[in-house]
Amino acid sequence: MVKKMTSKRSRSKKVETCKQATSLIMDYLTGEMNSMTKRAFEEHLSFCPDCIAFLRTYKKTIQAVQSFFDTIPLKKKGFQQTLKRKLKKKIN
């Protein structure tokens, strides 16, 4: 029983390589990571400029996507009314 619990608690992941670090970026950014894994992730980053660069550019990518979505304009009120009229005709 004790053994089972230990295995459940030690779900922290190893972060020994860039490959492992890269696969954990999303969990790191959303905080979906236990403190052991987080520490291991940050420790890898502390000596790996490549993964720091990768993480920064990954975050920049998310920013770029968000700013793209922000540029899509909303429709004017008149358009909404026209569409509503069309819909009402379809309903009746």
């Binding site: 490959k19 490549d50 550019t57 990954y58 990518t61 770029a64 700013s67 922000d70 509503k84």
Partner: protein, 252 residues
């Protein structure tokens, strides 16, 4: 035995703490802020302030009753309330006004016709949201497939020892704004998003525009949370790789 019992209690307590922290993460206090770099008020379905929530819910119930009874006025109020949200979400999926308009009509007609099938287990707005997502996704899937996109080429590559294949990895995050104009950047993003598979595109829109949690996205699209995460990560790696190439660096 006592030791085991106390251990069990400790574990239960730790679990409780974890659930608690998960709750906080989803409720925009925690880490989400770091990823959700930009929060646009009133942009998505989600942004209703807490104080207004209860009143809105009550109004919504009255509206639903009206719509179920076939009352046109209720339907019009409902339409006015949700038009821009449905429209802007549809626009994000399809990228043009004509298609977005079609989706809006299709969605609201469905709501009118199917209101009676709404069971009330979820919020009506959640139901509407799911209808919008799936209608837009279906339309996206009907589109003619573009030329094959070689996603693999833009994925990070690693040596056998697990380190990055191309080193150093260049940190171009600060240079983006210097090298390309904002308009160019947005064009690159747009073209790349259009190259994503419909489902991947949906995941990106719901996460980065709608700011939905992975669980909510999973529910809306009928995927597992793991699948949502995998798709989102892959789509972002692809986008990142494309941006890197445009800036003159290795995508890997």
């Amino acid at each position: 035995m006592i030791i085991i019992a106390s251990l069990t209690t400790t574990v239960a307590f730790i679990k409780y703490l974890i659930y608690f922290s998960i709750f906080f993460r989803f409720s925009s206090f925690g880490y989400t802020r770091e990823v959700k770099l930009k929060t646009k008020p009133g942009a998505g379905f989600k942004q209703i302030t807490k104080t207004k929530e209860k009143l809105a819910e009550k109004n919504e119930q009255i509206l639903i009753k009206g719509i179920k009874a076939g009352d046109q006025k209720s339907f019009e109020v409902f339409f006015d309330r949700y038009f821009s949200k449905v429209y802007s979400l549809a626009f994000k999926f399809l990228g043009n006004a004509a298609d977005a308009e079609d989706i809006v009509q299709e969605v609201f007609l469905l709501v009118y016709k199917k209101a009676n099938t709404f069971k009330g287990r979820s919020q009506f707005s959640t139901w509407l949201y799911r209808i919008t997502v799936n209608t837009a996704l279906a339309r996206l899937r009907q589109r003619k497939k573009e030329d094959k996109v070689f996603v693999e080429e833009y994925m990070p590559k690693f040596n056998n020892d697990g380190y990055h294949f191309v080193r150093p990895v260049v940190d171009w995050s600060q240079d983006v704004d210097k090298i390309v104009t904002n308009k160019q950047l947005l064009n690159i993003v747009k073209n790349t998003i259009d190259q994503l598979q419909p489902l991947d595109k949906a995941v990106v829109i719901l996460s980065d525009f709608e700011e939905r949690t992975n669980r909510e996205i999973a529910t809306a699209l009928g995927l597992s949370v793991q699948a949502v995460k995998a798709r989102l990560h892959r789509a972002r790696l692809f986008l990142r790789g494309k941006l890197a190439v445009h800036l003159g660096h290795s995508p890997t």
